[in-house]
C-alpha cells in the first residue's frame, strides 16, 4: 500500500466505522440513522447558509487542528489549545478596546499580533517547563487550560465588563478593529453570515505551516526532534529549543482563533465562547493525519457535523446534537487504535490462509 493510499484509507475507515457505531446507537434510542445522518450532513451543503456556517465553524478548527499538528510533529501533545485561545481572544479584545483611537491600518495588525503573541506565550509556558524541568506537557497544558479560563473570567468580570451587563463579556472593541465578512466580497453571499477573512487567514496558515515544517531548517529540526529526539540531539539539534519553539508556534496558531472570534464575529470577548475548539482540534489533527491538507478536510467534516447538530436537535425525535460529540469521540478512538484495523485485516488474512 502506498503512503498516500494509507493516509487516505485509514481516516476514511475510521470515519465510516464511527458512523456505523453511531448508527447503531441511534437505532438503539429509536430513530432512523439514515434520517439522522441526512439531517446532520445534508444541512451543511445548502447555499448560502449551510456552506457559509460550515466554513465559519471550520475556521477555528483549522487553527486548533494546525496547533495540535505542530505539537505532534515535535512529539508534543498540546491539549492546551483551549486555554491558549481563551487567553488570545481576551488579549485581542483588550487591544481592540484599549487602543480604540488607532486607525484600522494599525489597529487590526496590532490586534492580530496580540492574538498570536499571547497564544504563543501561554503555550510557551509548558514548553519551557518541559525543556527546563522535564515536566510532562500534557499535564501542564491541562492545568493551564483551567488557569486560563479562570484568569480571563476574572479580568472580564472585574475590569472589562460594561457595568450592569448581565452577561460575562467585555465591552465591544473599536469598530476600526472589525475585519470584514466575506459577504462583502462575494456577490449573493449575505453579510449576516459571520464567515470572515479569518477563514482565508486559516487557509494561508495551512500553507505557511506546510512550508515551515517541510521547507525550513527550523521545521526540519522540529520534525527531527519529533521522530527521534535522541538521534536529533546526536545530530546537533538542541531538543530543548525545539520544544519551546514548537509549543510557541502551536500556541500562536491556536491564538488566531481569537482573530476569527473577536475581530470577525462577536467584536468583543465573550466568556465561554469556545465550543471545545481546542479539544476538537485534537480530533482534527489526528483524523487529518497531521498534515495541513488533512487538517482542512477534517475541520470541514467536524464543522459540518457541528452545524448539522442544530438541525438534528430540532427535527429528529430522539437524537440530540450530542451525537456530534459522540461521533467525534468514536472517530478519535478508531484513529488512535489504527492497530485494531491492522489486526482485523491481519486476522482475516490469516483465517484465509488457514482455509486455503
Amino acid at each position: 500500500m502506498t503512503k498516500l493510499a494509507r493516509d487516505l484509507l485509514f481516516p476514511l475507515i475510521a470515519v465510516v466505522a464511527a458512523f456505523i457505531v453511531g448508527g447503531i446507537l441511534i437505532l438503539i434510542v429509536g430513530d432512523n440513522p439514515l434520517d439522522a445522518y441526512a439531517l446532520l450532513l445534508g444541512s451543511a451543503l445548502s447555499w448560502p447558509d449551510g456552506i457559509g456556517y460550515t466554513l465559519f465553524q471550520a475556521t477555528p478548527l483549522i487553527f486548533t487542528g494546525l496547533a495540535v499538528l505542530v505539537g505532534f510533529r515535535c512529539g508534543l501533545f498540546n491539549i492546551g489549545a483551549e486555554g491558549q485561545l481563551y487567553i488570545a481572544a481576551f488579549a485581542t479584545a483588550w487591544v481592540g478596546i484599549r487602543f480604540a483611537n488607532l486607525s484600522a491600518w494599525f489597529l487590526i495588525p496590532f490586534c492580530c499580533a496580540a492574538a498570536i503573541l499571547s497564544g504563543a506565550f501561554w503555550a510557551a509556558i509548558p514548553g519551557v517547563l518541559k525543556a527546563k524541568f522535564g515536566s510532562h506537557e500534557v499535564i501542564n497544558t491541562i492545568m493551564l487550560n483551567f488557569i486560563a479560563v479562570a484568569l480571563v473570567s476574572y479580568f472580564t468580570q472585574y475590569h472589562y465588563k460594561v457595568p450592569g451587563d448581565p452577561i460575562l463579556q467585555t465591552a465591544p472593541i473599536s469598530e476600526h478593529a472589525y475585519i470584514p465578512p466575506l459577504g462583502k466580497f462575494i456577490p449573493g453571499f449575505p453579510e449576516r453570515i459571520p464567515l470572515n477573512v479569518a477563514f482565508l487567514l486559516a487557509l494561508l496558515c495551512c500553507l505557511l505551516v506546510y512550508l515551515f515544517l517541510w521547507r525550513t531548517k527550523w521545521g526540519y529540526e522540529i520534525r527531527a526532534t519529533g521522530s527521534n529526539p535522541f538521534a536529533a540531539e546526536y545530530g546537533g539539534i538542541s531538543i530543548r529549543k525545539q520544544i519551546i519553539l514548537a509549543m510557541a508556534v502551536s500556541g500562536a496558531l491556536a491564538g488566531m482563533v481569537g482573530i476569527n472570534e473577536v475581530l470577525g464575529n462577536r467584536h468583543r470577548y465573550y466568556d465561554g465562547f469556545s465550543d471545545n475548539y481546542g479539544f476538537t482540534g485534537i480530533a482534527v489533527a489526528l483524523l487529518g493525519r497531521n498534515h495541513p491538507v488533512g487538517v482542512i478536510l477534517a475541520a470541514l467534516l467536524f464543522a459540518a457535523l457541528q452545524h448539522g447538530g442544530i438541525y438534528v436537535d430540532g427535527f429528529s425525535e430522539h437524537v440530540t446534537k450530542d451525537i456530534v460529540q459522540v461521533l467525534q469521540g468514536i472517530i478519535i478512538l478508531f484513529v488512535a487504535a489504527e492497530a485494531f484495523f491492522k489486526w482485523l485485516l491481519g486476522r482475516k488474512a490469516s483465517m484465509e490462509r488457514l482455509r486455503a
Partner: protein, 324 residues
C-alpha cells in the same frame, strides 16, 4: 504585627479569619467535595502505578455520574426499589466506569494505542454520551430527572469520612503489602524486569485500568446521587482533572493523594462558601477565580520540582512491547 490589626471585639483579625474559615460546615463540605476526588484520584493511582496514563478520569466520572442518576431514578420508578435505589445506582455507576475503562484498556493495552490520545477521545465521547442518552430516554437536554431527597446516598460527613478512610487504608495495604501491589508497582517502573520475573504485564495493567474505572465510576456516582440529586450536563466540571492533579501533587502515593484531594476539596468549599469574594484581614478581596486556580497552579509547581520532586512511574505512558 504579624497577626494583623485588633478588631473591636478584641481578637486579632487573622485569628478571626481562621475561625471563620474552619467552621464545621466548611469542614463538612470539604469532606463532601473531596470524596469524589479521592475516589477518582486513587483509581488513577492504580492505573498510573501500573504504567497507564489516565487523563480519562473525567470521562469515567461522567459515565458513573450519569448512569448512577439514571439508574437510581429508573430503579425507583420502574422497579419500585424505593430506598434501595441509590445503591442500585451506585452499583450501575461503578459498572459504567468499569465499562468505559474496559474500552480504554483494550485500546491502550492490546492495541498499544497512544494513551493520551485515547484518553482524550474517551473524555470527548463522554461529554456527548450522557446528553445523547438523556435526550433519548428522558427527553431532556442533558440532565436526568430529579431524584427524591430520601433516595440519595448517605450525606453525613462522618459516615463519608469513615468510608473514605477505609477505602484509602485498603488501597494502601493492597499497594504496599500484597503480591499484587508489588507487581503493579514493578510493572509501572520496569515492565521488562517484571516480565522476566514471570509477571504478566498486560494482565496487571488491565487490572490497574479496570480498578481505576470502578473507583472513578463510584466517585462520579457520588457527585450525582450523593452531593446532588440529579445529573446535569458536564456536571464533573473538570473534577476528573483535579483528581489527576491531586494524584500528581500527592506524588502517586495513596496517603499524600488523599491529603491533596482534601486540600483541593477545601479550595472548592472555600470558593463556594465565600460566594465570589474571599476577604483578607486587610480588607482586600481575593476574587474566587484565584482560589479556583490553586489546585492547578500547585500541580504545575510540584511537577516542575519546586516543592520536592514528583516523579511519575518510570514506564508511565509507554505501551509494553514484549520482546520476541
Amino acid at each position: 504585627m504579624a497577626l494583623g490589626t485588633k478588631s473591636v471585639d478584641g481578637t486579632f483579625a487573622s485569628v478571626k479569619l481562621m475561625r471563620d474559615i474552619f467552621t464545621f460546615s466548611l469542614i463538612a463540605s470539604t469532606i463532601r467535595l473531596g470524596t469524589p476526588l479521592v475516589l477518582a484520584a486513587l483509581g488513577g493511582l492504580f492505573s498510573e502505578r501500573s504504567g497507564v496514563i489516565n487523563i480519562a478520569l473525567e470521562g469515567k466520572m461522567l459515565a458513573g455520574a450519569f448512569t448512577a442518576a439514571a439508574v437510581t431514578y429508573a430503579a425507583d420508578k420502574s422497579l419500585g426499589l424505593g430506598n434501595m435505589s441509590p445503591w442500585a445506582g451506585l452499583f450501575a455507576g461503578m459498572l459504567a466506569g468499569l465499562f468505559i475503562a474496559a474500552i480504554y484498556a483494550v485500546i491502550c493495552i492490546k492495541f498499544k494505542a497512544d494513551q493520551v490520545v485515547s484518553g482524550a477521545a474517551i473524555n470527548i465521547l463522554m461529554i456527548g454520551m450522557p446528553g445523547f442518552l438523556s435526550g433519548a430516554f428522558f427527553l431532556s437536554s442533558g440532565s436526568t430527572p430529579q431524584i427524591p431527597k430520601d433516595h440519595l446516598l448517605p450525606q453525613s460527613p462522618i459516615v463519608i469520612a469513615i468510608a473514605v478512610l477505609v477505602v484509602v487504608a485498603i488501597i494502601w495495604y493492597v499497594l504496599y503489602n500484597t503480591p499484587f501491589g508489588l507487581r503493579l508497582r514493578s510493572v509501572g517502573e520496569n515492565p521488562e524486569a517484571a516480565d522476566a520475573a514471570g509477571v504478566s504485564v498486560s494482565k496487571i495493567r488491565y487490572s490497574g485500568v479496570l480498578l481505576a474505572g470502578v473507583l472513578a465510576g463510584i466517585g462520579g456516582a457520588y457527585l450525582s446521587i450523593g452531593q446532588s440529586s440529579l445529573f446535569t450536563r458536564n456536571m464533573t466540571a473538570g473534577r476528573g482533572f483535579i483528581a489527576l492533579a491531586a494524584l500528581i501533587f500527592g506524588k502517586w502515593r495513596p496517603v499524600q493523594t488523599l491529603l491533596a484531594c482534601l486540600l483541593f476539596g477545601f479550595t472548592e468549599a472555600v470558593s463556594i462558601q465565600m460566594q465570589g469574594v474571599f476577604k483578607l484581614p486587610s480588607g482586600e478581596d481575593i476574587p474566587v477565580q484565584f482560589i479556583q486556580m490553586v489546585p492547578y497552579v500547585l500541580t504545575i509547581v510540584v511537577l516542575a520540582g519546586f516543592i520536592g520532586s514528583s516523579r511519575p512511574p518510570r514506564a508511565l505512558g509507554i505501551p509494553y512491547q514484549k520482546e520476541k
